[in-house]
């Protein structure tokens, strides 16, 4: 990958954060069943990793994936035709406790879209939010229930979480750039 930026977390540290998140979720729900729904794209492998960590305690924890492209509130880009991901939730959500999983929490608009998308699949009894990093700058009244770490970014700063399933390696990086290295939108 081209210039990943300044490393904030090593692969080992990312793994530790994932473990801690998983145990926090379990600590809050020692008895109730829950499902983990990852938000496309890096929330999906993250949800699977959380499930893997919990395997010994909760061997039957189910995971799903959610693509929120059709629920975004920002107008589609004039420059790029948006490519849809797949939403795969192979079970009925009615009455279930859902933990939404995202990699980096920022404005909260993705989460707003994810809640709308989720509700079109069914009526969960409760929705909670887990993220690995919170970079601040919320534009909606949304807060995580489980958060690996907080790192508020300054102007022109972006966070990139790399996961081996998507990127071949684990790590959290701080990127200085004029535009968002992931979405291409300007700051």
């Amino acid at each position: 990958m081209d210039n990943p930026g300044q490393q904030l977390l090593s692969a080992r540290e990312v793994d530790t954060k994932i473990h801690r998140l998983a145990w926090q979720i379990l600590e809050d729900h020692p008895r109730d069943p829950f499902v983990l729904i990852g938000i496309h794209k890096r929330g999906v492998p993250l949800a699977r990793r959380l499930a893997k960590v919990l395997e010994s305690e909760r061997p039957d924890v189910r995971t799903g994936s959610l693509d929120i492209t059709l629920y975004r509130d920002d107008p589609a880009s004039v420059e790029i035709a948006s490519v849809l991901g797949t939403s795969d939730i192979p079970f009925n959500l009615n009455g279930l406790l859902v933990v939404l999983v995202d990699d980096v929490l920022y404005t909260g608009r993705t989460i707003r879209a994810a809640i709308d998308a989720l509700i079109d699949f069914g009526r969960p009894s409760k929705i909670e939010l887990a993220c690995l990093v919170d970079r601040g700058h919320r534009e909606l009244p949304i807060q995580p229930d489980y958060c690996g770490m907080t790192r508020v970014t300054g102007p022109g700063e972006y966070l990139r979480l790399l996961l081996r399933e998507e990127d071949g390696q684990d790590g959290l990086f701080l990127v200085k750039s004029k535009s968002d290295p992931v979405t291409g939108t300007s700051a």
Partner: protein
């Protein structure tokens, strides 16, 4: 890749654009398994269907696609509009322009009408069939359907049977299949097979030749009774005997596992016998279902000038 304003034909599409629409059709198709089949991306947008030729299936398919994307839909019915009072197409477009619609889906008996409308409108124009020229969403849904059953399409063989000369379906579908690397052949009455076809498209004169070529898909065109002004074949009975899928030919088709496609509506006893409709590799109903998903992908992809202006 930039979104386009209009979809007028298959010829002008790049392979990247075709792949984009086909890839997005799959998640749109998955929506039908959900209890809530509607998604919000076209909320507040207005889609108008402008059909100068009768069509129930294509118009309904577009209407369902637009509604599932949360757009509002108005059907502009020609027989009840001022067209019968002598309004020209351009005048009609000016009227529609003033109504601020975002997408116009056009069908017309003359080739090139959608192109004309596209030049005079800020709305995105989708050609839903113009004369003998093009029916691009049919081509896209056919390619998507073949991809679903065949996987990799390169090198697959498709024979298109019937009145190829007058068929915009044959034109759009054969064009997209060739772009995707399939081998295409035509089979039908001599006068209905175009002489000026591409050199790599083979022409057959008997079903035996078709079977010898080992096609993966037999694509039957509808005999369009309403378009036949001249007599190109002696009778429908004769057509069925030579070019139709008879019981006997269906046996061979079943033995070899060949898929059957047809853009609908079928003329039973002409293009095919009743048994074809229940043959396990008939994709006709799958084509109808996929038509909605593909048209959703097209509507989602196109960008009307009305929305671009709003974002500046």
């Amino acid at each position: 890749m930039k979104p386009r304003k209009d979809l007028l034909d298959i010829e002008s599409l790049t392979n990247e654009e075709i792949d984009h629409v086909l890839a997005n059709s799959k998640p749109f198709k998955d929506l039908i398994r959900r209890s809530v089949k509607k998604v919000p991306p076209l909320r507040g947008r207005h889609v108008l269907t402008l059909f100068y030729e009768p069509s129930t299936r294509t118009r309904s398919s577009f209407e369902i696609a637009a509604k599932r994307l949360s757009a509002d839909v108005t059907n502009f019915t020609v027989s009840t509009s001022s067209v019968v009072k002598g309004e020209t197409i351009i005048d009609t477009i000016d009227t529609l322009q003033a109504m601020q619609v975002d997408y116009i889906i056009v069908r017309h008996s003359s080739s090139g009408v959608p192109n004309l409308i596209a030049r005079h409108s800020d709305a995105s124009i989708i050609n839903a069939g113009d004369g003998n020229h093009a029916h691009p969403t049919q081509g896209l849904l056919d390619a998507f359907t073949m991809k679903e059953v065949c996987g990799d399409l390169a090198g697959r063989r498709v024979v298109i049977v019937g009145d190829v000369l007058h068929s915009r379906v044959a034109r759009s579908t054969s064009t997209i299949l060739r772009k995707l690397g399939l081998q295409v052949a035509f089979f039908g009455p001599g006068p209905l097979i175009p002489d000026n076809r591409h050199a790599d498209i083979r022409g057959f004169s008997t079903f035996e030749e078709v079977f010898d070529w080992k096609p993966d898909v037999i694509y039957l065109l509808r005999i369009q009774m309403e378009r036949q002004r001249d007599q190109f074949f002696p009778s429908l009975h004769e057509y069925h005997r030579i070019y139709g899928v008879t019981k006997e030919r269906l046996r061979t088709i079943r033995e070899r596992g060949i898929y059957i496609m047809h853009p609908g509506p079928v003329n039973r006893g002409v293009e095919l016998v009743d048994d074809v409709m229940t043959y396990e590799k008939t994709l006709i109903n799958q084509q109808v279902e996929n038509g909605i998903a593909t048209r959703m992908a097209v509507l989602h992809w196109l960008q009307p000038r009305t929305t671009v202006r709003e974002m500046d």
